[in-house]
Assembly symmetry: C2
């Protein structure tokens, strides 16, 4: 077997066998296969794709390149959720404790924000004391006792993916649906939950701008998961405007507390309930989705989810007072500024990626992996698509611990909006549920 | 400008501008752009191609990466020929002196054999004393005095192509028509002749197996040449069987002497005459192709071409007695063996690549660039496509300075043939002339 032949084979659109994929990935990790051959192979995959079986194999080999977390000794049904990311997507913060309050075990390993999207870990670190890097044993103990933990990915998870992603990142092979699916699923499979619900975002703030692509990605990930014996379901949901009202870190924690107090914005509450229902259904504990969603909604309103959230925070070293008095616990921004509407009309569209980059410019995100985050920075969005606005009315409030970029950020925010004189329909929140 | 964007742009099938191509190629040579980005770019070119203008630009930038030979001070009209290579394609040996005998200046820089194909330099080095590595000044002097020189390419010709070819060779991006065209033409343009006739081979012994591909390659090369102000013409010719009778090195020199004595095999004589006619036409010295070919044929028969061949050999340090008494001058093989026909019938097809590999196995070629050649080794082909053969009749004679591989070579040769009971038509020699 030699690398040239495998690149050639893929270039000709043929399916690679397990042994061939293993030769490639193992050789790449061991640096027997040079990066220039791997990048040519990845570009050939970009053009020629992979069959579902081939892609599942490919992903499985990436899983085996590192540590696989065994959650069989936890007891209980482990179900996780993964979102492809967006702006204001703090769903995990309330969803994970909500699902745990419904009797599931939620072993969530999350990531950090980069570019226009935020990350669950950054948001949780707004809570003083919260530790995302607990030991494997503490993680499992917490799952047994509390039923939920949100921690960072360990370095040993799917190192082949990490290495391959770095190469894709500089060779224009990131936005390949099979490669995205393999990258996400290699990590999720290694994390060992028996069920996984995917929230695949689509729209102006999502990586998949087109709904068609989001569906293809969801389908590819479902196939990989099922081929590897996981229970899988997916929702295709809207990211043509920010989710909820808050974009940032501390402010998204505060919003999560509101959601778990039955007082959150409608859209983010709805998707939280839908996803919790799907997780419950996937676990087999509740067959009917509607009934499952009712149970989920009840636990947002009766305080059960919020109690779990507090338990989780406490177990991970954080200050659970954030649940009762978030403003006291969370760092408050030093500067804020209102963005006013320049005209009368209706909000027709939001360039959601640009809204995310506005939050980044305020300090709420990072451009490079090594950048630091200002947890108090962010945006409160008061007007969304289809909302009527009057000239001079407040559209959003921007916050930051520095005043430096404020004017520029206001311009960016205004420029991300399209205002029209005619009435506009609100976009659907959920396009499809695939299970 | 950054490399990622250029890979992305090509991946999306867009045309790159001059400055962008220059950034890529210069960065690649200076090793500012890593090989893994270049290989991803090349794979994207494989799938998306280049526009004629873009490809011409790309080639021109590769030319500028190294030395460009200025032949303007030679006086006279410089015209060169390039063949894409095949088996028994010793045309240059007689064509170059023939064209010079017709009043053209032929500054030929040739290559060595590799794999199943032979190389003009190896053939010429069968002549004792012949030097292929003369100085630039001696080369020019010889062109002024003799009108023809066949030498090796200097190392400084199109180094970007050399570097890029090494990368393509290990990343399955060699067989891309635009990249092949750019590679060939970057060297030919740097060599500075004002006119160039291309002999693009097609068939079982050629790099372009399909005539359609050969035409595409010819077209791409013509466009590159014309865009760079060269006079260009091309012939698409057959390589479904070896050209002429001799395959090897010393034996092809002997055959060239026969061609220039008016006693060569029909096919190789014909294509030599056609190409010489095209070179003459391209130079503007003769407008009518038929008249030009008549003049060429005359100079094969009247000894004018052979005299030029002798003058060239002498000027380059070789023994010109090879023209009058080749067997005395050329090294003779120590062993030879006849390949007999196993049955009665007609030769229907020859796997010409395999015939070339048979010659290689006898020592006439090289597998790797560093291998040494046995100049006396080779094949004399007595029966070609459409010829009637009887069981036991000699199909070919194999020669070598070692007996080691003889039996294996006989089997290889037999296995390269397809013999049928029915009469067969001979393939056409010339499929198309493009000018």
């Amino acid at each position: 077997m030699n690398t040239y032949d495998l690149i050639f084979k893929k270039r000709e659109g043929e399916k690679l066998e397990h042994e061939e994929l293993k030769f490639l990935i193992d050789g790449f990790i061991e640096e027997k296969i040079p990066q220039y051959q791997m990048s040519a192979f990845l570009m050939a995959v970009y053009f020629k794709g992979m069959t579902p079986e081939e892609l599942s194999d490919f992903t499985n080999i990436m899983v085996k390149s590192g540590e696989e977390i065994d959650l069989n000794d936890i007891g209980g049904i482990t179900v996780d959720k993964h979102s492809t990311g967006g702006v204001g997507d703090g769903v995990s913060l309330s969803l994970a404790p909500l699902a745990a309050s419904l009797g599931l075990v939620v072993p969530m390993m999350s990531g950090r924000g980069l570019g226009h999207t935020g990350g669950t870990l950054d948001k949780l670190e707004s809570i003083p004391g919260y530790r995302i890097d607990i030991t494997r044993n503490s993680f499992k103990d917490q799952l047994r006792k509390v039923g939920v933990a949100i921690i960072g990915q360990t370095k040993n998870i799917a190192p082949a993916d990490k290495k391959m992603y770095s190469l894709r990142d500089v060779t224009a092979t990131v936005d390949s649906i099979p490669l995205i699916a393999a990258s996400i699923m290699s990590k999720k499979l290694a994390e060992g939950s028996s069920g996984l619900v995917l929230d695949v975002k689509t729209g102006s703030g999502a990586f998949m701008r087109k709904t068609e692509d989001a569906k293809k990605l969801a389908k590819a990930m479902l196939e990989i998961g099922r081929y590897n014996n996981r229970k899988m379901a997916a929702v295709i949901s809207d990211m043509n405007q920010p989710l909820g009202r808050s974009i940032g870190n501390a402010n998204e924690i505060k919003q999560a507390v509101e959601i778990m107090s039955g007082k959150g914005p409608d859209d983010i509450t709805e998707i939280t309930v839908v996803l919790a229902g799907m997780m419950l259904q996937l676990s087999g504990r509740q067959k009917d989705l509607k009934t499952a969603q009712k149970a989920a909604l009840a636990n947002l309103n009766n305080g059960a989810a919020l109690k779990k959230f507090g338990d989780m925070i406490e177990a991970q070293g954080g200050d659970r007072k954030v649940c009762s008095n978030p403003d006291e616990v969370l760092k408050q921004p030093e500067y804020s500024a209102e963005v006013k509407s320049p005209e009368n009309g209706y909000i027709e569209a939001m360039d959601t990626r640009k809204v995310g980059l506005t939050a980044l410019s305020l300090g709420a995100g990072r451009e490079r992996v090594i950048d630091k985050i200002d947890h108090s920075a962010g945006i409160e969005v008061f007007k969304k698509i289809s909302d009527k606005v009057e000239a001079g009315e407040t559209l959003a409030v921007l916050s930051s611990s520095t005043v430096k970029n404020m004017e520029e950020a206001k311009d960016m925010y205004i420029n991300s909006l399209k205002i029209t004189k005619d009435k506009v329909k609100s976009p659907e929140l959920i396009y499809d549920i695939i299970n």
